[in-house]
């Protein structure tokens, strides 16, 4: 055996011993052994703190110049939560005849029926089953409406950019005495009246109201601008979903449908958003009304670590209504909203917001506690990340957030009434903060 062989053998033995001792050996995972010998500790862990002082509040009145009031895709009828709306519809009777439907066809003898047609949004026409108290099923029937139709003294002003008062009008030419729960109500009219309008060749405005005896409830219908047909029950091709006249001829297999030249919801009674949180708060889509608020964090120990921070607002289910709604919480510079109210466009809102968290499918009929995770927001305030002071804004899921592929926030008229700062303790809006603290962190400079 040469000396080199001896050395090599020794090295191999050494390597094998090492391999045997170490390779393939796995240390046990950490356990409690030695835990009580640890020196450092968190001085405060998961400490709860409720912040309830709102130092700045603003009701945000938001409009979209690209979708003016008269161009909304939906029309609303009825009364709910202090809001009442009727529909105004203008028809151009000077533009009736065509090669398919010539003038000579429009005689009393040729016309079998004339109906006024509406198309209800699918959401409002269905029985809805919602749970309350855990497993009790509550059935919400479609609203029964006694439709009334009147002729306006003059066509309504189509340039309106906001809710309008009900214009002067004559007596109702149609009164639905029985109530109608149908999704596509066909309201029969006197064909001779219709022929008079056709003969006049004028633009004539109509008022559609929910007459006496109608169930309470605000119901949405397709407007002439509707593009989200997914919000309707399946309809036939070529069907006019906007308010229209449907003329059924004796001899023709095809009905004549007369679309409106303009339509609008009146919202002549519109509950305004509280401008003082003492009076409560309101979030609304359709006619956007959002809210922004700034909490006083001075009671929070400096340099806390925020394990969780939640903005908790309590909803009033009895006075809230609408479809399932996506709520967005965002940071908003306190300079961008002022007491008591701020008017801004959607573009201005886009520039003002930094989205923080989203709550999807919030049911206004069910939800009582609306809680947003604003942990990062509070941590950023603690860390003095911003030069200014930022508050929080609750908005709908606007398109500029980039996540909304459904209907825009101006489609459904959804309202959440929220308890204000005058409410009982358990219902107060509050920032519920859970924090941890290490005292020694305060002993130096950042």
């Amino acid at each position: 055996m040469t000396r080199t062989t001896v050395i090599l053998t020794a090295l191999m033995v050494c390597a094998l011993v090492f391999a045997g001792l170490l390779a393939g050996c796995t240390s046990d995972l950490p356990n409690e052994l030695g835990h009580d010998l640890g020196i450092i500790t968190m001085d405060t862990v998961l400490a709860p703190l409720s912040m309830e002082t709102i130092t700045q509040f603003s009701a945000l009145d938001v409009t979209d110049p690209e979708v003016p009031y008269g161009s909304l895709q939906t029309l609303y009828l009825g009364t709910q939560g202090g809001n009442t709306s009727s529909m105004l519809v203008n028809f151009d009777f000077g533009d009736v005849f065509s090669d398919e439907f010539p003038e000579e066809l429009f005689t009393s003898e040729n016309i079998q029926t004339v109906n006024f047609s509406l198309t209800m949004l699918d959401f409002y026409g269905n029985k809805r089953f919602t749970t309350s108290d855990g497993d009790t099923l509550e059935v919400i029937e479609p609203v029964g409406i006694h439709y009334w139709i009147s002729v306006l003294d003059a066509p309504f002003d189509t340039t309106s950019t906001a809710p309008v008062a009900i214009p002067p009008h004559g007596l109702a030419i149609f009164q639905d005495q029985e109530g109608n729960r149908g999704k596509e109500p066909l309201l029969p009219l006197d064909k001779n009246l219709f022929l008079q309008w056709v003969a006049s060749g004028e633009i004539i405005g109509f008022l559609i109201e929910a007459g006496p005896g109608s169930d309470p409830g605000l119901v949405g219908y397709a407007a002439r601008e509707l593009t989200f047909y997914s919000q309707l029950e399946a309809i036939g091709a070529g069907t006019v979903v906007a308010p229209d006249f449907v003329v059924n001829f004796v001899s023709e297999e095809v009905n004549y449908q007369m679309p409106p030249m303009a339509d609008i919801s009146t919202f002549h009674e519109l509950r305004t958003a509280p401008t003082d949180p003492v009076d409560g708060m309101m979030f609304r889509t359709g006619l956007r009304s959002y809210l922004a608020l700034l909490f006083d964090l001075s009671d929070l120990p400096a340099n806390s670590y925020i394990n969780r921070a939640a903005l908790r607002v309590m909803s009033e289910p009895d006075s809230s209504f609408g479809t399932l709604t996506t709520l967005q919480i965002s940071e908003m510079d306190s300079l961008d909203f002022t007491n008591p109210a701020t008017s801004m466009t959607v573009d201005e809102l886009d520039r003002a917001l930094e989205p923080t968290a989203t709550l999807s499918s919030v049911d206004p009929y069910q939800v009582e506690i609306i809680e947003f995770n604003v942990t990062d927001y509070v941590q950023r305030r603690i860390n003095n990340v911003y030069t200014g002071r930022r508050g929080l804004a609750i908005t709908a899921d606007e398109a500029f957030f980039g996540a909304n592929f459904g209907v825009p926030p101006d489609f459904y008229f959804n309202v959440f009434r929220l308890f204000g700062t005058n409410a009982p303790d358990s219902l107060l809006p509050q920032l519920r903060i859970t924090y941890s603290l290490v005292d020694e962190v305060n002993g130096g400079t950042p």
Binding site: R3, T4, V6, I7, L8, A10, L11, M12, C14, A15, F18, A19, L21, L22, A23, C25, T26, S27, D28, L29, P30, N31, E32, L33, G34, H35, L37, G38, I39, I40, T41, M42, V45, L46, A47, P48, N303, S304, Y305, I306, N307, R308, T375, Q379, I382, N383, N384, V385, R432, T434, S436, L437, V438, E440, V441, N442, G443, G444, T445, P446
Partner: protein
């Protein structure tokens, strides 16, 4: 031949690099200034003495005066693999780790008379982590999760020294040690429940404390080898010194950090050793070390009230060596044999009682060609602490491997 030597080292180095289990020590390093790291090479570990080395072909770095006998450039490093079986009244834990505590270089300026040395040597180390189930109550939530704790860091020396042979069998050395290092302590609470899908409702909170050490110490050493060197004695002394500490306390997610500076006063350290050649190839010897950590001062906070736990740190080792032979056809019997026992009292108490460590070691070594280097092995078993006294107890198995290479660079 030089090329062959390094090629032979590769398998071992590869094993060391590949086999890197979770680096962890014993729970005893969770407190105070951490565990003293054994920087002795495998030969010293196995035979129990190293303060009196004067072998020019197998130099030692424990007492830098040993280097006065250098004739070649010497490069030495030590690695060890360690298995610890840790026990407390409530739990057990088995850990493996590898560690490289020391790399040293010696340069003869005047052969067998004057040498310079430099290197890197870890002398204090802490590495341990724990995890324990925990529960909290906040708002209306019963929160469950774990508390984690980890401690990791080391204090190291960069010794720059000179060794000189004097008449009458005396050798002396002096070294300036640049002291550095860090220690990170972290604790984290994870709140697993309640959760929302895959997201925790409560974000975990964690704290990290980091200390950065810098300072300078000095070491004076000497060896006296009268007559033909049958008896040799050696000693070294490192005076008390201060280490500047920058301390940062960080709470994860919080921009503000606590920053403080303080001075850690390290007590002086004495080492001594002796060896006596008995008969034939047999030599007996021992080393001792003493450092009174009752004189240690550092940061005192509500969490680090260490003073009452500080103790005298000392150790004794005694051992026997059958030195290497070069007789033809003697095969394995030419190999050196080494054995030793050691006792160490740690510099601080745990559980109100001092920590005692007892170790037994055996080992051997293999010379490289033309005696230009050596590979040494030592296998040790030790016991740290006592369950009844300290609340913890650790059995330690350690394989120490040292390599020293010699080369004539000039």
């Amino acid at each position: 031949m030089m090329r062959l030597r390094w090629r032979m080292l590769l398998p071992m180095v590869q094993v060391v690099l590949v086999a890197i289990p979770a680096a962890a020590q014993t729970p005893f390093v969770m407190q105070n200034i951490g565990q003293r790291v054994e920087t002795d090479d495998a030969r010293m570990v196995a035979r129990g003495f190293g303060m009196t080395v004067t072998d020019s072909l197998h130099p030692g770095f424990k007492n830098l005066a040993s280097l006065s006998s250098l004739r070649h450039v010497a490069i030495a490093f030590t690695v060890y693999g360690e298995k610890t079986e840790n026990t407390s009244l409530d739990a057990d834990r088995e850990l493996y780790r590898t560690f490289t505590p020391e790399i040293r270089v010696g340069l003869p300026v005047i052969k067998n008379r004057l040498a310079l040395t430099a290197g890197f040597s870890v002398f204090r180390s802490s590495h341990y982590d724990t995890e324990k189930d925990a529960a909290w109550t906040v708002w209306d939530d019963e929160v469950t999760g774990v508390e984690q704790y980890s401690r990791e860091g080391s204090l190291f020396n960069v010794p720059l020294g000179v060794a000189l042979r004097l008449p009458l069998g005396f050798s002396v050395s002096g070294a300036t040690n640049i002291v550095g290092g860090t220690l990170t302590e972290a604790t984290a609470n994870w709140y697993f429940e309640p959760s929302s899908g895959r997201n925790f409702i409560y974000q975990p909170s964690s704290r990290k404390d980091e200390e950065r050490y810098s300072g300078t110490s000095y070491t004076l050493g000497g060896i006296w080898s009268p007559g033909k060197g049958r008896l040799r004695v050696g000693a070294s002394w490192s005076p008390a010194h201060d280490i500047d500490v920058e301390r940062t306390v960080e709470l994860q997610g919080v921009a503000q950090r606590g920053r403080t500076e303080y001075v850690m006063h390290m007590p002086e350290e004495y080492r001594a050793g002796a060896q006596l050649r008995l008969f034939g190839r047999w030599t007996v010897g021992g080393d001792a070390r003493y450092q009174d950590f009752r004189e240690f001062t550092g940061l005192v906070t509500s969490e680090r009230n260490w003073d009452s736990n500080m103790d005298q740190e000392y150790e004794y080792t005694v051992g026997l060596e059958r030195t290497r032979a070069n007789e033809r056809r003697r095969g394995w019997s030419n190999l050196p044999l080494r054995m030793s026992v050691a006792y160490r009292r740690w510099g601080y108490a745990i559980g109100g009682a001092p920590i005692d460590q007892r170790t037994m070691s055996v080992g051997t070594g293999f010379p490289f060609g033309h005696d230009l280097g050596q590979l040494d092995l030592a296998l040790s078993w030790g016991k740290i602490g006592e369950l009844a006294k300290n609340g913890y107890e650790s059995d330690v198995w350690r394989l120490t491997v040292s390599v020293i290479g010699l080369e004539k660079w000039w």
